[in-house]
């Protein structure tokens, strides 16, 4: 049987964290391709993960358009729009961090990542404020004194707000994970792990962050915008 030797039989037994190449790979390129593909595959699982919730939303919106429009209009549009902008800004700084990674500008990476994290936290802060507002306005389906209590709309409006809390909550959870990832990358960068040859983790963290942004790009119109002008 024909065999060929590879260059890494020798040293790879004990992996050094800073040395990029792991033992199962032959080349750096193979490793990078694998990681990137892995992340993309992970992202499609995320598409379908949110997809299930989007299906629920779509079905109910099409069954109860009027109630959903009414419930929509009770969400705080200026805040939602601001938050969208915050998230888009964070995506921008994220991509700048990746760019800095490509160019090997370690300081720039760290600065951009910290700004990204800041925007991420700002988003979560604003979200938290919004949720509190909902609590105060009795928009939370599970609590007593739901604002439409007693009217025949309450059921379907509760479904709207249930989806609102479940989906924005899920999204917020992803943001929290994202912030954790950023912290890790910042730490690694400060350790000097990355170089123009090896910055895949930054790249991949970027993909994740942008994806979370994408989800919001759709959550925003679905919950805040469509039919919010409808008569109440």
């Amino acid at each position: 049987m024909d065999t060929s030797s590879t260059h890494l039989e020798t040293g790879a037994a004990h992996e050094a964290e800073t040395l990029a190449l792991r033992e199962q790979f032959d080349t750096e390129e193979q490793q990078r391709d694998a990681a990137t593909l892995g992340m993309w595959v992970f992202l499609i699982t995320e598409i379908l993960f949110f997809g299930g919730a989007f299906l629920a939303y779509t079905i109910y919106r099409s069954s109860y358009p009027a109630v959903f429009g009414l419930a929509s209009s009770s969400l705080n549009l200026p805040i939602g729009a601001t938050n969208t902008c915050v998230l888009l800004l964070s995506s921008f700084t994220m991509v700048m961090a990746v760019r800095a990674g490509q160019l090997g500008q370690r300081k720039a990476i760290i600065i951009f990542l910290i700004i990204t994290m800041f925007f991420g936290l700002a988003f979560l802060g604003i979200k938290a404020y919004e949720w509190t507002e909902k609590f105060e306005e009795h928009h939370v389906p599970a609590l007593s004194n739901f604002f439409l209590e007693g009217t025949s709309l309450q059921g379907q409006a509760k479904i709207f707000f249930s989806l609102y809390f479940a989906m924005t909550g899920l999204h917020a959870l992803h943001m929290v994970v994202g912030v954790g990832i950023l912290l890790f990358i910042i730490w690694k960068t400060s350790q000097g792990t990355y170089s123009p040859e090896y910055y895949t983790p930054i790249d991949i963290a970027g993909l994740y962050w942008h994806f979370v942004d994408l989800v919001w790009i759709f959550l925003f119109p679905l919950f805040y915008l469509i039919d919010r002008h409808l008569p109440r």
Binding site: W40, G51, L88, L89, S91, M94, T200, L207, P221, Y224
Partner: protein, 105 residues
């Protein structure tokens, strides 16, 4: 089968990114303003249309799909297609309920 395209080694200029950001922000403001108008059935179309444009900007530029391999694109399109299957075939049910005029059929 390693691709030699080295997709992620392509460095975009800062100007490109700033341009994309500005486009995204403008789109956000536009869609928020339009939402206060009554466009009838076009409300949904406009809101989701703008969202799709924003998605394309993020995917192509920020996520570098512009330079990515065929495989990456396939993966992404595949994911969206599967989402479409989920939505479409579910609507075959929810969209045709009551067509024959018998409750529950």
């Amino acid at each position: 089968m390693n691709q030699h395209g080295e997709p992620s080694h392509h460095v975009d200029s800062v100007r490109t990114y700033v341009g994309v950001l500005i486009a995204l922000l403008i789109a956000t403001i536009v869609t928020a303003l339009v939402a206060t108008l009554d466009l009838g059935p076009f409300n949904i179309i406009v809101a989701l249309g703008i969202a799709c444009v924003k998605m394309m900007l993020v995917v192509l530029f920020f996520m570098h799909v512009r330079y990515s391999t065929l495989l990456t694109r396939l993966v992404m399109i595949g994911g969206l297609m599967w989402l479409a299957i989920l939505l479409l075939l579910s609507f075959v049910d929810f969209g045709t309920r009551g067509w024959i005029g018998v409750p529950g059929k």
